[in-house]
């Protein structure tokens, strides 16, 4: 199951792309390709375990979209600022 905040958009925040890209409706921004694997629950990744943005916004998930998860504070991400 993919993250309920995930959308694919070609355009947002004054940015345009040829191919629709992963966009986070909780953070209101396009997400990094590596994080998109978390959004899509690909490989061994899952949004409700590995994404600090989801964990911060879990109580905003519309009812019936997904069972609520515990909320956890998110800090600064590390090792991905290059």
């Amino acid at each position: 199951m993919t993250c309920p905040f995930l959308a694919y958009r070609s355009e947002a925040n004054d940015r345009q792309f040829d191919e629709p890209r992963a966009y986070c409706e909780a953070a209101e921004q396009f997400v990094q390709p590596m994080r998109a694997d978390i959004c899509n629950d690909r490989y061994d990744l899952s949004h409700d375990e590995h994404c600090e943005i989801y964990l911060e916004h879990a109580d905003e998930v519309p009812a019936g979209t997904e069972t609520g998860d515990e909320t956890e504070n998110a800090g600064q991400s590390a090792g991905d600022d290059a």
Partner: protein, 280 residues
């Protein structure tokens, strides 16, 4: 390798890390993502002085893929557009299965080089790329079978111990080639004394490559040149040319480091010289 190697004026190998797997065009429109774009970036980087290109594979929307077929498409484009550049595949892959991590090694022909991460690295707040010793050994084994030179990625001092551990477990072809990586998070803190320390800790006879993330790219590659090492630049590791100004291409970053090497009296290695230095 040391300052004496610098004084001896040995050629410096420039690696261009063209695309990476973490950030994409959402970070900078200049980052190549498709095979055609990566091929063009490789040709331009080679013309600017790079003898090695480090590549990851992506889908058309920029997302990661580890599929052999996609690496094949990228290699075909690089060979079509570039001249003689050495292709180095990444075998990194946070969250990917061990089986997926082997897939980049299986193109035809095999890449001349591939990265081999020496240990764990944290990503975001809840994720770690584990890079277990078991995975390191199995990737190395397949590299040996396919004639691929491993580029050992040493994220921090602990990974230097892991490098010695690998040398005890496995026989590595000479010279051992390790990339010393400086930056935030799990990486070695980017301080000159840590750089000197890392060089001192390298195995006897090893050649080293220098990688600084973000704004540390330029000062650390300059130190790499001065201490007889090799250097890596590119949009995978740093998207800025200077503070607040995006780099317009990988080639722009390569051109600058080639110019610095030239000013400091080190010849920039051609792909052929790089093959000799690394015993490919």
């Amino acid at each position: 390798m040391s300052y004496e190697n610098y004084l001896a004026g040995e050629p410096v190998i420039i690696t261009a890390a063209l695309t990476g797997g973490v950030q994409g065009k959402e970070a900078t429109p200049h980052l190549p993502e498709t095979p055609k774009e990566i091929g063009k970036a490789a040709a331009e980087a080679e013309a600017a002085g790079a003898s090695v290109v480090h590549v990851h594979a992506r889908k058309d929307n920029g997302e990661r893929t580890f599929a052999t077929e996609r690496f094949q498409e990228i290699d075909d484009e690089i060979r079509r557009q570039a001249d003689d550049v050495i292709i180095q595949h990444s075998t990194g892959g946070t969250g990917a299965s061990d089986e997926d991590r082997h897939l980049p090694l299986r193109t035809d022909p095999a890449p001349e080089m591939a990265s081999l991460d020496m240990g764990p690295m944290n990503r975001y707040d809840h994720l770690t790329s584990e890079n277990t010793r078991g995975l390191v050994d199995s990737l190395h084994e397949e590299m040996v079978e396919r004639g691929i030179k491993p580029e050992l990625e040493i994220f921090n001092d602990g990974h230097m111990n892991e490098t010695y551990g690998l040398l005890e477990r496995r026989e590595l072809a000479e010279p051992v080639y390790g990339t010393l990586i400086f930056g935030p998070g799990t990486l070695t803190p980017p301080k000159p004394r840590n750089f000197i320390n890392a060089i001192d800790n390298l195995p006897e006879g090893a050649q080293f490559n220098t990688l600084g993330f973000g704004r540390h790219q330029l000062p650390f590659v300059t130190m790499g040149i001065l201490f007889g090492g090799h250097v890596r630049v590119g949009l995978e590791d740093n998207i800025y040319y200077e503070r607040g100004e995006l780099a317009t291409s990988n080639a722009q970053l390569v051109e600058r480091v080639a110019r610095i090497a030239d000013e400091l009296g080190r010849e920039v290695a051609t792909p052929s010289q790089a093959r000799d230095i690394l015993n490919l």
